[in-house]
């Protein structure tokens, strides 16, 4: 792309200019597209001929080519820190040997000396032009590499199972009726200069907050076009477009405790984001709260009812239901010790099918085909999942009981088939939610009154209300493995600690507090919900794994809820010395 060259020349000349960056998706990808032709031809050759002498050929192959264009900018205090454009194409080969019942996947081998970050079957730096020969050459090498790795892994898996005398009765891969989906190409015009100005404007609000030490606003835009073909006959082309702004700020209390807060805006197209004025308003509100937090009193411990409202309620449901149902297939580890060292941070509700996970009044659905819900835009939608399967609307929980899971083509005990919820993240397919909607048929208008009467009943002066959690992305298995070999034990809490919380007194008075975390939580915690509000909060967010630099756009809708009794303890944040000198900007005034 020559946008960048223009950018620097223009900057040098000091001329104000508006840049239009026209991302044209390649002309319609028919059968004749060189990308598909290269994938098809190499797949044909591979399925027929690729085999080592004493081994079987692959029974399944998929090729995924991801063409990704990224724009990322960061602004701090009204100035642009970085402004980068990137275009790359990568190839991912999923190649399986063995059979649908038993293959080389769902298995982690013990790394021999050091953990390698390279993944067989992945090829970066694919040609950016649709050049048949050059792309096919890359596919050929990646396939060969992946086949050898798969054969090796299958042998190790067989031996591990024999050695451990495991009876793994769940199949490794499920069959699907082949599907075909070709999305019409989109053209997106992006005014980079406008977004740079917006980022400057948003990050500049912090000049009004002397209590905040550092701050910034990140803008990111991704246009990914994904080409997929597999040997079962699935084929698709789809565009995945995401635009995000994250505004964050850091400071310290007077006694040196670090505080942080953020607000994010997510949508597919840049035009899906709120108006600049609305984003500024929210960023200001965030900064106001953070400034107030610096003088908030520290809560040491608390036992009693907790209200999750605003973002905190959808975050709570994501942490328990969203994480609890995702990435549900537990792999076999070659090394028992390693298996023990890998905390299960996801999929912990998978064995609760037909059991109550919520009160009877609650239902939960997941529907990837929704783009809005009660006039609120949703963000987790897709037309076909990352394995080419059309998604189904799922009733996950009915009258409090877990009915099913979002499923990829990797079966789990009790659920054999995909329901179109296979998502490609962290270099592999995982089952995941998309648009999670939590409803209750017993919502109350006088929700806050209900909370206060609960306080009275329990003879408590005040109760804790949480409006935002310090959401932590659970670590993927590859990241855990890397940490494990780096000598640390990876853990993320079941529910992240509160970012914004306050005391609500019996007389209705509110008082911001800080310093609490949850204690002794089990995945069954939601059964203790005693009331739900009439409100519904939608949280559109990008689920981003920093380790693998991969992401999923997701939405969670939920009402405010009250959990009858929770135990909270001090997060034991360590104080750090305050800055010696005053902030150069605020100090001069």
């Amino acid at each position: 792309m020559n946008i960048k060259y223009q950018k620097s020349n223009i900057k040098n000349l000091g001329i104000l200019f508006t840049l239009f960056c026209l991302f044209s998706v390649k002309p319609l990808l028919s059968q004749e597209s060189p990308i598909f032709k290269a994938m098809q031809d190499e797949m044909k050759r591979t399925t027929g001929k690729l085999k080592l002498q004493k081994e079987k050929p692959p029974y399944y192959i998929s090729y995924r080519i991801v063409d990704e264009q990224n724009i990322s900018m960061r602004g701090e205090f009204g100035a642009i820190v970085s402004d980068n454009v990137d275009h790359n194409r990568s190839l991912f080969v999923d190649l399986r040997v063995g059979s649908y019942d038993f293959d080389n996947t769902n298995f982690y081998e013990s790394p021999e000396y050091s953990y390698s970050f390279g993944q067989p079957g992945v090829s970066d730096n694919l040609p950016l032009d649709d050049d048949y020969d050059a792309i096919r050459q890359k596919i050929w090498l990646a396939t060969d590499e992946q086949y050898k790795a798969a054969v090796d892994l299958l042998a190790k898996k067989k031996s591990a199972i024999e050695h451990k005398q495991l009876k793994d009765t769940v199949a490794d891969f499920s069959r699907v009726t082949p599907d075909y989906y070709i999305e019409s190409p989109k053209k997106i015009s992006m005014d980079r200069n406008e977004w740079a100005t917006n980022i400057k404007t948003i990050s500049n609000i912090f000049r009004a907050y002397p209590k905040i030490q550092t701050s910034g606003a990140n803008f990111s835009f991704q246009l990914a076009t994904i080409y997929f073909l597999d040997s079962d006959g699935n084929k698709y082309v789809k565009n995945d477009i995401n635009t995000n702004i994250e505004v964050s700020a850091n400071t310290q209390t007077n006694d040196g405790i670090n505080l942080t807060d953020n607000v994010t805006f997510s949508g597919h197209l840049p035009s899906d984001l709120p108006a600049l004025s609305a984003m500024i308003q929210k960023a200001n509100a965030m900064a106001d709260t953070l400034a107030l937090l610096t003088v908030a009193s520290e809560e040491k411990d608390y036992t009693g009812p907790v209200m999750f409202t605003s973002l905190a309620s959808s975050e709570l449901f994501f942490e328990i239901i969203g994480k609890g149902l995702s990435d549900a297939r537990k792999p076999i580890y070659e090394d028992d010790e390693m298996a023990q060292m890998m905390p299960e941070q996801t999929g912990f509700l998978a064995d609760k099918i037909n059991k109550e996970v919520l009160p009877k009044s609650f239902s939960v659905s997941d529907n990837p085909t929704l783009t809005s819900y009660n006039k609120m835009s949703l963000y987790g939608n897709y037309a076909v999942d990352d394995q080419g399967v059309k998604p189904e609307k799922l009733d996950l929980v009915k009258t409090g009981k877990l009915i099913t899971l979002p499923m990829s083509r990797t079966p789990i005990k009790g659920i054999k088939k995909s329901n179109g919820h296979g998502r490609f993240i962290g270099g592999q397919i995982r089952n995941a939610i998309s648009n999670l909607v939590v409803t209750s048929d017993q919502t109350r208008d006088d929700f806050e009154t209900e909370f206060i009467s609960l306080l009275k009943e329990k003879e408590l002066d005040y109760g804790i209300v949480i409006t935002q959690l310090a959401f932590q992305i659970p670590k993927g298995r590859d990241e855990m493995m890397a940490m494990f070999f780096g000598g640390s034990r990876p853990e993320t809490p079941l529910i992240s600690e509160p970012l914004i919380a306050y005391r609500l007194y019996q007389n209705g008075k509110k008082e911001l507090i800080r310093g609490l975390k949850f204690d002794a939580i089990t995945p069954m915690i939601l059964k203790d919900i005693v009331a739900a509000g009439k409100d519904e909060t939608v949280d559109n967010f990008i689920y981003k794994e920093p380790f693998t630099d991969s992401y999923l756009p997701l939405s969670v809708v939920a009402p405010s809820v009250i959990i009858e009794k929770m135990i909270m303890t001090s997060n034991e944040a360590k104080a750090k010395k305050l800055p010696y000198l005053k902030h150069p900007y605020f100090g001069k005034k």
Binding site: T46, L52, F77, A79, V81, V85, K577, P579, Y580
Partner: protein, 562 residues
């Protein structure tokens, strides 16, 4: 207004703007430096006695092509900050070596982390980052000096009692800021076209041609009064190709071209020649026999000799390696003594931008402590004279000679710039070969080795391990007593440095440059080494660890069976 005038005016505006901006960033840095120093010098338990800000602006264009298509096309501009805060005194400060440190493999991980600086020259956005980074470095310095003092109490005295920091001249230099530029808009097409050549060679698995244009600007201010703005443009073209031998050994070769100007880059004809040459070499390697462990006479071709001197010799004359207790200090007590054959002299001269008309990558005006670069005679007629010095003194060498280098975010250590080997015992390359054969006969060896390309290597200078080196030659030929040659593969050169130097018999008259990037504890820095081909009486090689992967099962889709 005529077109001419307009162009002149635009040019003037550009120059003025760039100039003004340069001063602007430096002024911002200066303002915060002064405020910080005034505010902090008497604030902590130990006084802040020196503070330095260095900002490296890096503007990089990379275009890479393979098989006639573009695989990378990026342009990124970033500014990185490195802060150096010293508390205590010149005699003893927070940078002092911690002997009991738990670092990994003897490395003391006292490295500052880098911060990104806004690319817009907004005073307070920039000062906010400077302020926060200074505060962090100052606190770390306060903490570390306490450990330094406590080690002084609890551990035995160090061998080298010289101070931690030396005074240095104040330098004021206002050069130009620079950006990455590619004037020829046709580069994309040119490298696409050139990369197509590989299509005719299906046995090559991966190949690429990459052009990189960099614009680096150094902004440096410190409390010694030094103020520097200096910009450098660099251009590089790299040809790369890899394959496997029939027994599964990974083989790769590359050919780099370097220049400070776009005009200095090779023409397409030259690049084509280099590609053909690389393909020929790679083809020969692929079918070459595996080397047997061998010890005997060898020639290091000029570029390979340059890498050899950089690795085996150059890293051992870096000042801090004579001082730190964890270092092997190979040459510490050898000053004034003979360490190389008397016909060899070595100097490091970062002031040289070119050698015999070819650009040298290791050139710089000021080092990362703001000290002017200079020529340092390290060895004269085989006798060790000097070390490459930073502002950290060592016994007998109290001042910097401008060799403090780092990539952003790291602490400086002494590093090479342009290492140049001069010989008074030169013969033509043909004679050198003849001498190799007679040396073989003398030693009763069936053949000698000729090393053409060396990819690099590593050298262990620490005390913990053996004082050994290992370099990875990419292309090695055997030359038999009857004069015929054959390419071999799978070679590693091993040995111990002092022994190795003493075996050099004679050199060629064919000085050549190796332009590369050197990685060490202070990060990656551009370097050059210049040397003639050398004949050595004994070079020891061992078998390289071989990958166990088999060849691809199916032939390349680009063309029939090999």
């Amino acid at each position: 207004m005529s077109k001419y005038k307009l162009i002149v005016m635009v040019l003037l505006t550009v120059t003025a703007l760039v100039f003004a901006q340069g001063n602007q960033l430096l002024t911002i840095m200066e303002n915060e430096l002064n405020r910080s120093f005034q505010g902090l010098k008497n604030t902590g338990k130990e006084p802040l006695y020196f503070l330095q800000y260095e900002i490296n602006s890096e503007d990089i264009i990379t275009i890479s092509a393979s098989y006639g298509t573009i695989i990378t096309n990026s342009h990124n501009e970033n500014r990185y900050l490195s802060v150096d805060a010293r508390v205590g005194s010149y005699k003893l400060d927070n940078t002092h070596e911690l002997r009991g440190s738990s670092g990994f493999g003897g490395f003391d991980f006292y490295n500052s982390s880098f911060e990104r600086i806004p690319i817009d020259n907004d005073e307070f956005a920039i000062r906010e980052v400077l302020w926060k980074a200074t505060d962090g470095e100052f606190k770390k310095a306060q903490e570390r000096i306490m450990k330094v003092r406590s080690e002084k109490e609890t551990k035995v005295a160090e061998e080298d009692t010289s101070a931690d920091f030396s005074k240095s001249n104040k330098e004021i230099y206002t050069g130009t800021e620079t950006k990455a530029t590619l004037g020829d808009t046709n580069w994309t097409n040119r490298i696409k076209e050139l990369s197509k050549i590989f299509k005719a060679y299906p046995w090559i698995y991966n190949s690429s041609i990459t052009i990189t244009a960099r614009g680096n600007t150094q902004y440096l201010v410190n409390t010694g009064g030094t103020r520097i703005v200096d910009g450098t443009n660099r251009y590089r073209i790299t040809i790369y190709a890899d394959t496997k031998s029939d027994d599964g050994m990974n083989l790769y070769l590359f050919r780099p071209f370097f220049s400070y100007t776009e005009d200095g880059l090779p023409s397409d004809v030259m690049i084509r020649l280099a590609i053909d040459n690389l393909i020929n070499d790679l083809s020969a390697l692929r079918t070459a026999p595996l080397v047997d462990p061998y010890s005997g006479p060898a020639i290091l071709d000029n570029q390979a000799a340059a890498v050899y001197f950089h690795e085996i010799f150059g890293h051992r004359i870096e000042g801090h390696r004579q001082k730190l207790e964890r270092e092997g200090q190979t040459f510490k007590d050898k000053v004034g003594k003979q360490i190389l054959p008397d016909f060899l002299s070595v100097y490091d001269d970062a002031t040289m931008q070119s050698f015999n008309g070819r650009d040298l990558n290791g050139y710089y005006k000021f080092d990362d402590e703001g000290v002017k670069s200079q020529r340092v005679t390290v060895v004269e007629n085989g006798i060790l004279k000097n070390f490459l010095m930073t502002r950290s003194p060592i016994e007998g060498f109290l001042a910097s000679n401008g060799h403090a280098r780092r990539s952003y975010g790291n602490k400086v250590v002494s590093r090479q710039g342009n290492l140049i080997v001069e010989s008074k015992n030169q013969v033509s390359y043909d004679s050198l070969k003849k001498l190799l054969i007679s040396e073989c006969k003398k030693q009763n060896k069936p053949y000698g080795l000729i090393f053409k390309d060396i990819a690099g290597g590593f050298t262990a200078t620490g005390r913990g391990g053996t004082q050994a080196f290992n370099v990875t030659p990419l292309l090695v030929r055997r030359i038999y007593q009857d004069g015929h040659e054959e390419v071999v593969r799978g070679v590693n050169v091993v040995g111990t440095p002092l022994v190795s130097f003493s075996k050099i018999l004679v050199t060629g008259d064919d000085n050549a440059i190796f332009n590369g990037t050197c990685g060490a504890e202070s990060g990656m820095v551009p370097v050059s080494a210049v040397a003639p081909s050398i004949l050595t009486a004994e070079m020891e090689v061992e078998k390289k660890v071989k990958e166990q992967e088999k060849l691809p099962i199916l032939p390349s889709p680009l063309g029939g069976a090999k």
